[in-house]
Structures are given as C-alpha cells and as structure tokens.
C-alpha cells in the first residue's frame, strides 16, 4: 500500500480547502479598503489546496517512532474518557462547578482503574473546593454555582 495515508489526508485537506474557499468567496464586500477581508482567506485556501496536492504525491514516512495508534482493546477506554469529558462540560453550568468536578474526578479516575477509593474520594472533594475558594473569594472570578447553594 504505497502512499495511501498521505493520499487520504490530502483528499480530506482538499475538501477542507474547498469548503473554506467557498465561504471565503461568499464574504460580503466592503468598499473602503484596498484589500478586502476575503483576500487573505482566498489566498490561504488556494495555498492549502496546493500543499495538499504536493502531499498527495509525497511518499508516506516510515519513521513513525512514537506510535500513537490506539490498540483495539483500549479504544473503549479512550472513548469512555471522551464521554466523561462531554458529560462534564454538559453538566458544568447545570449542576455547578464543585458538584460536577467532584463527580468527574472520582468516577473518571475509578474508570481508569484507580482502586484506592478513600484517597480518590478525598482528592476529588478537596481539589474542586480549593479551586472554587481560590477563584471565588480570592480572585473574584465566579465559577458556576449550579444547584448547590454556594
């Protein structure tokens, strides 16, 4: 399979470039400057297309020393963590910073195989409360309070 990865990437990049170019050409015109807001984006769009074409004809590198590929049996774990993050973000403003962070820290660590539940519990409680106090009281930056009364 000679060059396939680069070719696949190249095709994706060309798609991105074309999408970006279409949006660029549709930018409204502004009459009072010599260089309008669409010129640089159009230039960048074409530049990406050219580079993508070059990449298409470049051989794959074989020196992939640090392999970042996710082994099949680890995939559920990684996707699980992504799921945790999505839940964390989704509930952040609804449940409030402290509550949701406590739950996230505790269950995400447990999910990743941390067995010392007592230590986990203490850390999961202490870290969010400390951070909250630091932001709210000392720096006067309000984090979402959510359903808790503070």
């Amino acid at each position: 399979m000679f060059g396939t990865t680069n070719r696949k990437i190249s095709i994706c990049l060309i798609a991105v470039g074309i999408f970006y170019l279409i949006l660029s050409f549709r930018l409204p015109a502004y009459a009072y400057v010599p260089i309008d807001s669409d010129m640089i984006p159009i230039g960048l769009g074409f530049l990406l297309l050219i580079l993508a074409v070059f990449l298409f004809f470049t051989n794959d590198q074989k020196t992939n020393d640090n392999d970042e590929r996710i082994p099949k049996k680890e995939l559920p774990i990684v996707l699980g963590v992504v799921g945790f993050i999505v839940c964390y973000i989704f509930f952040l403003e609804i449940l409030g910073f402290i509550l949701v962070t406590v739950l996230f820290l505790f269950f995400c660590s447990m999910f990743l195989g941390y067995k010392k539940h007592v230590v986990n519990g203490i850390v999961s409680l202490a870290v969010p409360i400390l951070i909250y106090l630091l932001f709210d009281s000392f720096l006067q930056v309000q984090l979402p309070t959510g359903i808790l009364p503070f």
Partner: protein, 501 residues
C-alpha cells in the same frame, strides 16, 4: 537625573518595609497565578485595582509589576509537568520541557526554567535601568509595515519547527493561519467564518487551541501508558545541574536576555513572539539542533529567558512613553491612572519615585522569585508521581478550568475537546502541532498589519520596501525561508546519489 542617583532613590522605595513586603506579595501571587491556567496576570491585576486603591502609587505599581513578571516564572510549571501551557508565553517551553519531564528530569527542567527566568529578568532590568529613555525611540519606530515584516520573519520559523516532513509543517501552519481568520475582521467589521455564533465573533482564544492540541492530546498517550511505569522517576524532584550543563546554557541565556528584551520593547510583540524567536534562534545556532524537541536544556532555557526579558522590555514603552505594549501593561496603566499617576512621557521627571521604584523593585523581585521557586521544585515535580488515573482526570479538569476562566462559556469547552481530538489525529498522522499554534499567534496580527499598511499606502506594495527596517526584515525572512530549503535539497540530492551509487 543621573541614573545612579535615580536608582538609589528607587532602592529607597523598594527596600522600605512596605516595598519589600509588597514585592514579595506580588511575586508570590504572580507565581501562583502563573501556574493556574486561564488566569493570566491581567485578571490578577484587574482584581487588585480596588485593593491598591489609596496605596502609595510607587508601592502599588511594584506590587502589580511583581504579579506580572512572577506569572512568567510560574507559567513554566504546567508546561513542563503536564504539557499544558497556561499562558501563551509558555508554549515554546513545552517543546523541550515536557520531554525532559517524561525522561524523569522534571526537577532539572524546572530549575533551568527558574534560572533562565532569573537571568533574563535580571539582565533585562539592567538594560531597562540604563537604556529606557534611549530605547523609547525604538519602541515607536514600528508602524504597520514593520510589524508585518516582523511577524513574517517569525513565521519562517515554521520550517525549522518541523520534524520530518516540511510539507506537513507548512500545512499545519496554513491551517493555523486559517483559524486566525475566524471572527470579526478589524479592518472592515466583516464577520468571517463565525457561522452566526456570537461565541466565534472575537475569534478562538489561544488557550483553547494550546490546551487542546498539547495537553488534551497528550491525555491519550497518558491513558495508553497508564499501566506502564514512567521512566526512572525517583530522581524526579532533583534540581541538580552539572557544570557542563551550566556551561551549555550560559551563552543561550545571555543571548536570549538581549534578544527577548529588544522584542519586548516593541509594543504588541511581547513575550510569546520572543519565546518562539528565542527557541528557534538557539536551535539554528546550536551545533546539535537534532537534540531540540527531545529534551534539550537549551530548548527550555531559551524561551524562558526570552519571555522574562521581554516582559521587562514591555516596561520601556510603558514607563518612558505611557504606551502599553501588552494587554497586561494596559491594565497596569489603567490602575496607575486610578492612583492619580498619569503614566506618560513625563513620568520619569514628575514621579521619579514611581519610575525608579519599579525598576529597583525588579532587581529584588527577581531574587525573591529565584529563592521562592527553587525550593518549590521538588514538591511541584511530585505531581508526576500521582497515580496515572488520578493525574489524567486532574489534567482534564485543569484544562477545563483554564478555558472556562477566560470565556465563561461551555461553547469554548466543546471547542477545547474538538482541538484535543484534532491534536490526537495530528500526532497519529505525524503533523507537528507547533507550527499551527505559531501561525495562529502571529497570523491575526500579521494579516491586520499587512492590510493596514496597504490602506495607508492606498494599495501600493512599495510601503514594505521603502522602510529600511521593514525591508531588512523582509529580506531576512525570505533568506531564512529559502536557505534551509536549498540546504535540504542539496542534502537530499547527496543522499540520493549515495543510494544510487
């Protein structure tokens, strides 16, 4: 007034009981602020304005200045330990700092960063002391064409930030420039690529991209390696450096103190650009450039020295002209006005105690920071000994807080996650992330400067060559882009010949 007389007066302020205490408070708060993502010195200083209300202006300014340069010390910690740069100045520190930490040399990396910050901070204060009025001319010498040329020169670094494929680095860079075009265009007020979302109108924040591409993407490797023991970690907190290592980083720190200071003097350029320029110039000067990116001491020393020097450089336009060179100095300027001091060209003659007091306090502050930071290193480094599953969750929380504290919207958090996934894909496919980030940082300002210049010149490109500063820098930019290409071509050609032979 004579410089030494002025400095003596300054030390009277800085060495008073109030002076010493507030410098200490300032640098301690700064260090802590620097370590927390999303909380830049801007927030800290803005919060301090009501507190400084009614204080002696000289003391108030040295307190705020302490927060400012203290944050630059603290910023290195999360970059080195977690690959999570909390401020843009600390991005370049991750390139070699995190590899060092992974090799179990976190303590050493933090020590290099602290010493580099100290050297950069101190040498640049000396410059500030003696050349501030002189250099104020340099500070106003840059108009739009010169800024465009400077940014372009910075961009040529993309090629040298690439490991392996130059074409992939260039693609990364172009994508970074594209991301920089998102938001309201300053020259026309046109909305570009916002898809109708108000969250995208002011563009994507740097921190969202940096934490996504660097820290969150790294989480995947942390997850995969969670059961393996890290490399030899029992020495993790050791900050001992050998004589050779001191020798190695000495010249680097010397050079970068000067370069960083000069870049910092230019309003708007600042710590980020100086840290990238510092990293790249040291890589180019090095006899062993292949060590960069794999845990080189110089690779940590260069950006950390340069960004601290640049921070002090930013005080030149602030103190001698009343022109804020960065967001943080702008807030400081506002705070001074509240205190009844109008910073401007007359500050040095009208309020010598403020002018010299701040400069004198920087000498003391830098010493405090070194004394404060070095003993903290062994404790900070121990964060790497936290069990992996817990560490992973903490890194994620760290990123989320960092982004939330600047945007206060969950929109940016989803964006953060998206950049994390993009960052992982880029690693998988061998696209370097640094060029993307560098292009993003420089791109916005570069495009604006380019178009400002052409509006001023009524569309004539000659404006870029008629200015000697801009012309010279453009020439340098072209050379530094072409020369490595030719070299590569030659080297590749030779290799081919060798192979065919």
């Amino acid at each position: 007034m004579d410089v030494f007389q002025g400095l003596a007066q300054g030390f009277q302020v800085a060495l008073s009981l109030d002076g010493i205490l507030f410098v200490l408070i300032g640098v301690s708060v700064g260090t802590v602020i620097g370590m927390i993502p999303g909380l830049g010195p801007i927030t800290a200083i803005a919060v301090m304005i009501p507190i400084t209300y009614g204080m002696d202006p000289a003391i108030a300014l040295l307190l705020m200045a302490g927060v400012y340069y203290g944050a630059a010390y603290g910023g290195a910690a999360s970059s080195i330990l977690l690959n999570a740069p909390g401020v843009s100045e600390a991005v370049a520190t991750t390139f070699d700092g995190y590899p060092m930490a992974k090799q179990g040399k976190a303590g050493k990396a933090l020590a290099v960063a602290a010493i580099g910050s100290f050297v950069g901070g101190t040498i640049s204060v000396v410059f500030l002391t003696f050349f501030a009025p002189l250099l104020s001319k340099v500070a106003v010498s840059f108009g739009p064409p010169e800024y465009f040329a400077l940014m372009l020169l910075g961009l040529t670094a993309i090629a040298s930030l690439s490991e392996g494929s130059t074409i992939k680095a260039l693609i990364s860079g172009v994508i970074g420039l594209m991301i920089a075009t998102i938001g309201i265009d300053a020259q026309t007020g046109t909305l570009r690529f916002t898809f109708g979302s108000p969250h995208l109108m002011e563009g994507i924040d740097f921190l969202v991209i940096a934490l996504g591409l660097f820290a969150l993407a790294e989480v995947t490797s942390l997850i995969l390696g969670r059961k393996n023991k890290m490399d030899d970690m029992h020495n993790v907190g050791s900050l001992r450096l050998t004589k050779e290592e001191y020798k190695e980083m000495g010249p680097t720190m010397g050079r970068q103190s000067v370069l960083g200071f000069l870049v910092g003097v230019l309003p708007g350029a600042g710590g980020t650009i100086s840290s990238f320029l510092g990293y790249i110039s040291e890589k180019k000067l090095s006899k062993k450039p292949e060590e960069f990116g794999k845990g080189s001491i110089k690779g940590v020393a260069a950006p950390e020295t340069a960004n601290n020097a640049a921070n002090n450089g930013a005080f030149v336009p602030l103190l001698s002209l009343g022109i804020p060179g960065s967001g943080t100095t702008a807030v400081m300027l506002g705070a001074l006005i509240v205190l009844g001091i109008q910073p401007g060209p007359l500050l040095m003659t009208d309020h010598p105690d403020v002018f010299w007091g701040v400069i004198a306090s920087m000498y003391i502050g830098n010493v405090f920071l070194l004394i404060l930071n070095l003993p903290l290193i062994p404790y900070l480094s121990r964060i790497l000994l936290v069990p992996r599953p817990l560490l992973i969750s903490l890194v994620i929380v760290f990123c989320v807080i960092g982004v939330y504290a600047i945007s206060f919207s969950t929109f940016d958090l989803y964006l953060l996650l998206a950049f994390g996934i993009i960052g992982y894909l880029m690693r998988l496919l061998n696209f370097p992330a640094a060029p993307l980030l560098l292009a993003f940082i420089l791109g916005g300002m570069m495009e604006q400067a380019f178009r400002q210049s052409l509006t001023i010149s009524n569309g004539s490109l000659s404006i870029f060559v008629t200015s000697p500063i801009a012309g010279t820098m453009l020439l340098l930019a072209i050379l530094s882009f072409i020369v490595p290409l030719i070299k590569n071509r030659k080297a590749a050609g030779k290799e081919n010949i060798d192979k065919s032979a």
